[in-house]
């Protein structure tokens, strides 16, 4: 019967196996495109030294290295600082400015500044519509948090200041637009605590 035909089919299949094993294309190395290595928060106030808080996580969330903080100096008491946040992916060359991505999907991102210490307060100074072509009304006025104001009181000492960036959060949930993270949900892109001083 077809035995011979069948066996020849099989040997063709065998050749196919053999030929397949030669496609040894060397894989291309990639970096995680979503890595955030660096966040720098600059706090400026008239007549005061600019304070920068930053961390550098050389291998992102994937690698074992813990992020290393750099804090330029103490904040001054009873001062209102203007804050601006810069987020980088320094595994790329030149480093990629992640701010652009956050601004591009402003409605999906929001920073939170969290502290219980020394009476420090913060307020958002930006809105989604600052970064998009949308009209400044309704939900487009929700904060993103790339810029903010931070006010210290007369109390001095050590404080913890935590910065959180979340994506795909619920900005309409109670308190979220005012900077309360409790009901925000979403996934964190950044979650880091700086140990600062107010003098």
């Amino acid at each position: 019967m077809n035995t011979r035909k069948f066996i020849s089919m099989l040997s063709i299949a065998g050749l196919f196996v053999a030929s397949c094993s030669d496609d040894d294309d060397a894989p291309t190395p990639v970096n995680d495109e979503e890595v955030i290595t660096t966040m720098t928060v600059s706090l400026t106030a008239a007549g005061e030294d600019t304070v920068t808080l930053s961390f550098f996580d050389e291998d992102g969330a994937d690698g074992p290295s813990a992020p290393v903080p750099t804090i330029s100096g103490p904040l001054s008491a009873s001062t209102t600082y203007t804050g601006a946040i810069t987020v980088l992916n320094a595994t790329e060359n030149p480093p990629e400015l992640v701010n652009e991505e956050i601004e591009g999907e402003a409605d999906e991102h929001q920073f939170f500044y969290i502290t219980d210490d020394l009476g420090i307060t913060t307020t958002y100074t930006d809105q989604e519509c600052d970064y998009t072509d949308d009209p400044c009304e309704g939900s487009f006025t929700n904060p993103v948090g790339l810029t903010f104001e931070l006010t210290t009181t007369a109390t001095t000492g050590a404080a913890q200041l935590r910065f959180v960036l979340r994506h795909q959060l619920n900005k309409e949930a109670q308190g979220v637009a005012d900077g309360d993270i409790v009901n925000a949900g979403g996934s964190p892109d950044i979650d880091y605590v700086f140990n600062i001083r107010v003098e």
Binding site: M1, N2, V17, V30, G60, G63, I190
Partner: protein, 800 residues
């Protein structure tokens, strides 16, 4: 069993001219092709004359003319065969008949003699049970077998666990092909449509060496329905609908068979469910959309046959939205909250996180039977498995790209010879050659490869045998050797390379130290030599007892995940770390079973102990700090382990129409060194079922089943991890099992005979009748949400 009539043969009979001298004689024997024994009482029919062979199988036909005759040779339990012989040239002729009709893929009820091994524990589920699970998964159906449980990710990703072991330790045979579907991942379910199987056998342990030597847990053998060698056309359609998930399944199959052994088979399946529901809330983003189709054709004759088979399987599965956690604080919150964060309205839409898996399987098989020797089989199979996992990424644009994109291609060539000529023993020997390639498309994902590109080469050779020592004692034994080589190309972050301490041990595998982003390009090549062996006996005594005892030695080489995992597994929000130093694990399993049964009741008790040296496990060990917060680290390690367990079951017929079924299984897994419990061991469970059957009422059946799952009281200690929220180390109850639970399930069915060939079966089932809130220790989503609530299912099976 259908015997072939001779009518057609008479029509075929070649009777030429009469003007001949008719004084020729034909003599010879009728012989069993299979073992060469002469066949007595075989009939030879020609031109309305029938001759019967005598006790030594010989025959004499006198008064033949010198022309061609068509002789029809028949024997009980054999297929009739027609031989055309020119009497002017031939005086003696031996006719070989094909014995053993069951080998001809006749429809035959699976009996004890069809078991895969003689001495190890095994159990088969039949078509009726498989039909009940038409809209569920293979893993769900297998839980009908004592000692089989499952590792779930939600309710749609179900990995079977056999006597405490799962993943790469459970080998899946789908229609004679070993599935290569990335079984290494906890959230990777077998890519098999349950509707393609006619029966599924579970061999608990590594005793079925012809399939592979690394089945420390066991082998699952799914076989298609058999096609009888006769002219027939039949099919089956199953429709199911369920309230939970608001969806259903449609599965259809049509089979055409011919008397000459030719057959054609086509099958298709479509399954669609939206969000499933727990008793108190919707489990958002848990829908599933599954498609499958297969086609098979071939010829099955006694002496030879071939099969061609192709199947396609595709599934898209949503992963519970609230399981998409960010970091360890979110995880702690979820564990402590007891309620999912995200509960949305019901939808059929599947959004991120989700996975999409496609599996192609092609197979060509040929067999040839040699007289008085046995059967030779050769098979080539091709598999292509693509896995895409989509996460909630930082931007919507990125979320449209998969975070994992793996393409696994496998070619396998196997050949074996089954020596079955002797009446008191049989031997099987075979070889295997396999090539596998994994391609991780990191340019598409923009994520570092969790599993690297690799080539894998396997070669194996085995010999197994079964010896009937006497009427009641069977001895079986086998040995197998497998060689595995894995040749990978892997990038390591310099920091990870240093943290793992690879520089001292593996500096020689580095190809380039200066890849982008401080990465190392390495080329790990590892060879493994695995020996497996088995031996055991089956002893039948006092008519009703069946005792089996088996020892199996099994070795398994580490899988790519255990070796190479390195980095953040986004969908699981955990860092998974493999280790290049991980070696093979070796299992010594001793199992026994004692069965007893009569017409009214039967029971079985099956204890086992499995010593596993260098058992590979993954468990949470701590956290890793990053700018995104702390992430839990799950690390692979090896330890010596001991699994001790028992499976028992019983079936009792109380009155004419009442029957009860009882099952209990228990396994205790511990590390031998410091006597710590192993992670992810199934909790003890007991199931009791009462069934009412009344054949007069359209074969009415109703059953009520109670399933009680104990709390797993043996688990490894929890870990303490730093919490940003609290600013201090806090215990994380990541290992704490949920409470015990009790479920009630109900099932009823009716059967209507519509015509001679057509039967319609209807069924109504209610799962989780009491709408009980529960969580299962072996469901990876137990941290985030309850398991399924009450579910009404209707099913309609049409056989035609």
């Amino acid at each position: 069993m259908q015997r072939f009539t001779f009518i057609s043969v008479f029509l075929l009979g070649v009777t030429l001219s009469f003007a001949q001298e008719c004084d020729k004689t034909l003599t010879g024997k009728v012989i069993d092709f299979h073992d060469g024994k002469p066949l007595r009482d075989a009939t030879i029919t020609f031109n309305n004359t029938t001759i019967v062979t005598n006790s030594d199988g010989t025959y004499i036909i006198n008064d033949l003319c010198a022309v061609s005759y068509a002789f029809t040779v028949s024997h009980q339990d054999c297929n009739s065969q027609v031989f055309t012989i020119d009497i002017s040239k031939v005086k003696t002729k031996d006719f070989y008949l094909e014995h053993h009709l069951n080998e001809l893929q006749e429809v035959k009820v699976t009996g004890k003699d069809k078991s895969k091994t003689s001495s190890s524990q095994e159990e088969t589920i039949n078509e009726n049970i498989i039909e009940k699970y038409s809209s569920a998964t293979l893993g769900d159906a297998l839980k009908e077998i004592t000692g089989v449980s499952s590792l779930n990710t939600g309710s749609t990703i179900v990995k079977p666990i056999i006597q405490g072991l799962s993943g790469s330790r459970v080998l899946m045979m789908n229609n004679g092909v070993r599935m290569q579907d990335m079984e290494w991942g906890d959230e990777h379910a077998p890519n098999i449509d349950i509707n393609t199987a006619g029966s599924i056998t579970v061999v608990k342990g590594a005793a079925a060496l012809q399939y592979g030597g690394d089945a420390l847990g066991g082998v699952i053998i799914a076989e298609p329905r058999r096609v009888p060698a006769k002219d027939t056309l039949f099919g089956k359609t199953i429709l199911t609908g369920a309230t939970n998930g608001r969806g259903g399944t449609m599965s259809s199959e049509i089979i055409k068979g011919y008397k000459n052994g030719l057959y054609l088979k086509a099958q298709g399946m479509l399954k669609r469910f939206g969000d499933f529901e727990a008793p108190d809330y919707i489990l958002s983003n848990t829908g599933v959309f599954e498609k499958g189709a297969s086609i098979a054709f071939g010829i099955n004759k006694f002496e030879y046959g071939w099969d061609a088979f192709y199947s396609f399987y595709n599934t898209e599965i949503g992963i519970l939205a609230s399981s998409n956690i960010g970091n360890v604080d979110d995880l702690r919150e979820s564990i402590n909250d007891g309620q999912p964060d995200i509960i949305r309205d019901f939808t059929y839409e599947i959004s991120n996180p989700r996975q999409e898996v496609t599996h192609h399987l092609g197979k060509l098989k040929y067999y040839h039977r040699f007289e008085e020797l046995g059967k030779w089989t050769i098979q080539y199979d091709f598999q292509s498995n693509q896995r895409l996992e989509f996460d909630v990424r930082r931007t919507e644009e990125r979320s449209n790209r998969p975070s994992i994109d793996l393409q696994l291609t496998t070619h396998t060539l196997t050949s074996d010879f089954y020596f079955d000529a002797a009446s008191n023993y049989n031997l099987r020997t075979g070889v295997l050659l396999r090539y596998q390639n994994n391609f991780a498309d990191a340019l598409e994902t923009g994520v570092r490869r969790l599993i690297p590109d690799y080539d894998k080469y396997d070669a194996g050779v085995f010999l197994t045998g079964e010896f009937d020592i006497n009427e009641s004692l069977i001895f079986d034994a086998g040995i197998r050797y497998d060689f595995n080589r894995i040749d990978a190309e892997k990038f390591y972050l310099q920091t990870r390379w240093d943290e793992r301490g690879y520089e001292t041990d593996f500096a020689d595998i580095i190809i380039n130290r200066n890849e982008i982003g401080s990465q190392l390009r390495t080329n790990p090549v590892f060879d493994y030599h695995n020996i497996s062996a088995t031996t055991g006996i089956q002893y039948l005594f006092k008519e009703k007892y069946n005792f089996r005892v088996n020892y199996a030695l099994s070795q398994r080489a580490p899988n790519p995940s255990e070796l190479f995992s390195d980095g953040l597994h986004h969908s699981a929000a955990r860092i998974e770390l493999g280790d290049l130093r991980i070696g093979q694990e070796t299992s010594h399993k001793f199992s026994a079973s004692l069965q007893w049964g009569n017409d009214l009741w039967n029971w079985e008790i099956s204890p086992y102990i499995n010593f596993i040296n260098d058992y590979i496990l993954i468990e949470p060990v701590g956290i890793q700090l990053s700018g995104r917060g702390p992430f839990p680290i799950w690390e692979y390690r090896q330890t010596n382990a001991r699994l001790l367990g028992i499976d028992t079951k019983a079936q009792v017929t109380w009155f004419k129409n009442w029957q009860t079924d009882h099952r209990f299984s228990l396994v205790k897994g511990r590390e031998t060194k410091n006597d710590v419990a192993l992670i992810n061991m199934p909790a003890p469970n007991v199931a009791n079922k009462i069934t009412f059957v009344k054949e007069d009422w359209f074969n009415f059946q109703a059953s009520l089943e109670s399933q009680y799952t104990f709390r797993q009281n043996e688990f490894p200690p929890n870990i303490e991890v730093f919490s940003i929220d609290a600013g201090e180390e806090l215990p994380l109850e990541i290992n704490t099992p949920p409470d015990a639970y009790h479920l009630l399930n109900m099932d009823t069915s009716l059967e209507f005979k519509v015509s001679k060939k057509s039967i319609i079966k209807t069924g109504l089932a209610i799962n989780n009748l009491l709408n009980t809130n529960y969580r299962n220790y072996l469901n990876r989503l137990r941290y985030f949400a309850d398991d399924l609530g009450r579910n009404f299912l209707v099913r309609l099976t049409i056989n035609y």
